[in-house]
């Protein structure tokens, strides 16, 4: 009888594990490298926010693995020859999570919000050229532009150009920063800032058969070693931004793989050109000469990256390689002396307090000490930095000397790198020009490129802009790092993108 009991118990246990396993395996957990700031992609500059939202609110057009355009809520699109009218055919039979039907009016509500510059949303500038949004029928949307703009399709594919439920926009207003309602494969369930974000399966998703996981939980974990150990202890199945120094350890552990793709994020230390010492071009050149970029890539990214040779990355459209950066301490000292700063000066460098962020700051501090620049480094927590840089920043009263940051053009196009980071209209807090750089030639070239749809003309204009920026050196260029991720073997459909975002909507376990 005892034997019987035991056998029954064993059978029961086995049965429960067999049945329990698939259910457990269908929950996906992901460790992110940064803390989510705002759920609303229309009003965020952060890749992590776009990633979080991408499962819930969809775009008309998406990107595949290689940043090629693929249909999402739009089934087809076309631009007129003069690049002033763009027509999108929408998918039929789609409903938002709150039951609102998806149609042209819903798209118009979102596009109007982005085009209305008085909203002061972080991403309004993407739709600056939009004049009007028209809806000839229920499933057609037409964008009319003020001027020709060749990069409009790529702009609509930007991860921030999502379609919120119009009902949610109306009822919640800016509250969509905390709660999302969209058409995506996952529904927004719970967000505990700084701790976790939980999405659950949308049973009525338009793309039948998807999603294949029941729940996605994101954990923001800024400390890179912790992220890696969470993967190794199976707490998460995917690590977004795997620390390069731990990639070998993860790969040799068995059961896990490290994914690596060349990135399009250019890391820089912007020099505040409203400050007297950085108005002098010689000082800015000296700073770039003093910093050994290859050593930066080696120390900060364990060699997994390249040294920039243009303001934009080689994989960004319209990239033009410039003269390679060199390191020459003697020449840097000579320039500093010539500029009257032989004894250097004191500066304040702002950065983030993530493991990599602190390493970047320390590296810069060491390198600049070689030209007698005494840097005070200030690693800040994500939300503090975001508040200081993008909310309460008054350019004329800015106190920082240098600001560390990385920008990736999530449209894959030169416009969305050069304009936000180097055009006068991009000055923080507005977009991302943290050097307060302003140059007529650059502004004009960027504008010229916007005003034409001809790729050759745009290429020529962006070449002028890149050359001028490279000459003026408003920033210390640092690195273009490879995007690395850690993944549990057997998981597919989850991967990182060259722009630093990631995809997980097609997640599936073997």
């Amino acid at each position: 009888m005892n034997v019987l009991k035991r056998a029954a118990l064993g059978a029961a246990l086995m049965a429960s594990t067999t049945f329990a396993l698939p259910a457990m395996a269908a929950d996906l957990a992901i460790a992110m490298d940064q803390i989510f700031q705002k759920m609303d992609p229309h009003n965020s500059n952060y890749n992590v926010d776009y990633v979080a939202a991408s499962g819930v609110v969809e775009r008309l057009i998406g990107f595949d693995k290689n940043m090629k355009l693929i249909p999402q809520l739009a089934t087809s699109w076309e631009g007129s020859e003069d690049a002033k009218t763009f027509t999108f055919k929408l998918r039929e039979g789609v409903t938002f999570h709150d039951g609102t039907p998806f149609n042209a009016a819903a798209v118009k509500a979102n596009f109007d919000r982005l085009a209305d510059q008085s909203q002061n949303l972080a991403k309004n500038s993407l739709f600056k050229v939009v004049d009007s949004v028209e809806t000839p029928d229920d499933f057609t949307v037409v964008l009319k532009l003020k001027e020709p703009f060749g990069a409009m399709i790529n702009t609509v594919a930007h991860p921030s150009v999502v379609i919120h439920s119009p009902k949610a926009l109306e009822e919640l207003g800016t509250g969509v920063e905390k709660k999302l309602v969209g058409t995506g494969p996952f529904k927004f369930k719970e967000w505990v800032p700084g701790e976790r974000l939980v999405l659950e399966k949308n049973e009525n998703y338009w793309d039948s058969g998807w999603p294949k996981v029941d729940k996605v939980t994101f954990f923001p974990v800024t400390e890179s070693a912790t992220r890696a150990s969470m993967l190794l202890s199976d707490e998460v199945q995917f690590v977004h931004i795997m620390p390069a120094e731990l990639s070998e350890r993860v790969e040799t552990s068995g059961g896990y793989e490290v994914l690596e793709v060349p990135g399009i994020t250019v890391w820089t230390a912007s020099m505040n050109m409203l400050k007297e010492h950085f108005k002098d071009e010689r000082v800015r050149r000296a700073f770039n000469l003093a910093v050994d970029q290859q050593a930066f890539v080696d120390v900060v990214y364990s060699g997994h990256g390249v040294v920039p040779d243009s303001p934009i990355a080689p994989d960004t459209r319209f990239y033009e390689g410039q003269e390679p950066l060199t390191t020459d301490i003697e020449e840097a000292r000579r320039l500093m002396e010539e500029a009257g700063h032989a004894d250097g000066f004191e500066i304040e460098i702002w950065g983030t307090n993530s493991s990599t962020g602190v390493r970047m700051l320390q590296f810069l501090q060491q390198q600049l000490s070689q030209i007698n620049v005494r840097a005070k480094i200030m690693p800040m927590e994500g939300a503090t930095r975001s508040e200081k840089v993008f909310s309460s920043m008054v350019p004329e009263e800015s106190t920082f000397d240098m600001l560390l940051g990385g920008w990736s053009p999530s449209t894959g196009d030169a416009d969305w790198h050069l304009r936000p980071v180097y055009a006068t209209e991009g000055w923080i807090p507005k977009i991302y020009n943290m050097a307060f750089y302003s140059d007529e030639t650059v502004d004009k070239a960027i504008q010229d490129a916007l005003n034409t749809a001809d790729p050759e003309k745009r290429k020529a204009a962006y070449a002028i802009a890149q050359k001028q920026i490279w000459k003026d050196q408003p920033v210390v260029w640092l690195a273009i790092e490879n995007k690395m991720a850690g993944r549990k073997k057997g998981l597919s459909g989850v991967f990182q993108m060259p722009d630093g975002t990631m995809q997980y909507t097609k997640a599936a376990f073997e």
Binding site: A225, E245, L246, V299, N353, Q362, F363, Q366, I377, P379
Partner: protein, 298 residues
């Protein structure tokens, strides 16, 4: 050891002839662990002070061609992610930690002793105020209070010292107050008062020496705790700048590499913290035994 036990039977005869210090010293040298701890701490301090002239590497000297190297004949404790010599950094950290420890506890002790002395001597509302403030400060866990203070004042070395000093104050105030309460009723204090000595003289010349023993013991032990608090603050990024060669900051950046198998980045600063705090505590224990008049030699 043999020498000590040989001489001890002769002690009682000469007892009256000894000065308080030699009496203390005679008791203290028999505590071998305390003596060894004191010696270790002095040695560490001496090494830290002369290190800049002796070591071939400075604590902030980087060498990107030689990063994350294990311990070797050249780099005794290996190098970190910037190729900096960890041994030099640990010694620099010793200097910094002892400086923070001594200074913050000294500030805390001075304020606490004066406060406790006044509170105990005058009593009344002054006593109530000082003790209630102490109660409030006591109610916070030490590290939490320090984090709060640093959060208000901002990170940095000076503010860490202030934070650690503040949370040392109440303990000293209590010790001194209770000692003062007992001593002010003693005959010799009453005699001094009867002779017309002013309050300040009575407090500082007659009562203070009586409570000093307890203060010294607590002072020594407190340094260990303070070093621990200061390194904790740096570890969580509220202390010194991350680039400064400080034990807590070193642990904080080194832990990134633990998983990658680079144990030496955290082992050596961790060992330094462990030994230093342990030694201060053992030394404090030894001092208490040697200073306590109630404890018999045997």
């Amino acid at each position: 050891m043999a020498l000590v036990s040989d001489t001890s039977p002769a002690v009682p005869k000469e007892k009256t002839a000894r000065s308080p210090f030699s009496e203390f010293w005679r008791r203290f040298v028999t505590r071998h662990a305390a003596l060894a701890s004191g010696f270790f701490l002095l040695l560490l301090l001496a090494m830290a002070l002369v290190a800049p002239w002796i070591l071939p590497f400075g604590p902030n000297e980087f060498d990107y061609k030689n990063t994350l190297a294990g311990p070797s004949a050249l780099h005794w404790a290996g190098t970190d992610e910037f190729g900096r010599d960890i041994f030099a950094r640990v010694l620099n950290g010793a200097k910094l930690s002892m400086f923070i420890g001594f200074l913050s506890v000294t500030i805390g002790a001075v304020v606490g002793v004066v406060g406790g002395l006044f509170a105990g001597y005058y009593g009344g509302w002054l006593d109530s105020i000082v003790m209630r403030i102490s109660d409030v400060l006591f109610a916070f866990p030490g590290i939490l209070l320090a984090i709060g203070i640093v959060a208000i004042l901002g990170a940095g070395l000076t503010n860490v010292i202030i934070a650690v000093a503040v949370f040392s104050v109440p303990a000293f105030a209590r010790i001194v107050r209770s000692g003062t309460l007992g001593l002010k009723e003693t005959t010799y204090v009453e005699a001094a008062r009867a002779a017309g000595a002013p309050n300040a003289i009575i407090m500082f010349r007659h009562i203070l020496p009586g409570v000093l023993g307890a203060v010294i013991v607590y002072f020594t032990m407190r340094i260990g705790t303070s070093i621990l608090t200061a390194t904790s603050l740096s570890f969580i990024g509220l202390g010194v700048e991350p680039s400064v060669a400080e034990w807590g900051a070193m642990l904080s950046t080194g832990r990134e590499y633990m998983l990658a198998g680079e144990w030496h980045l955290t082992f050596f600063p961790g060992l330094a913290i462990f030994l230093t705090v342990l030694c201060f505590n053992i030394l404090g224990d030894g001092l208490r035994d040697a200073l306590d008049p109630k404890l018999d030699d045997n």
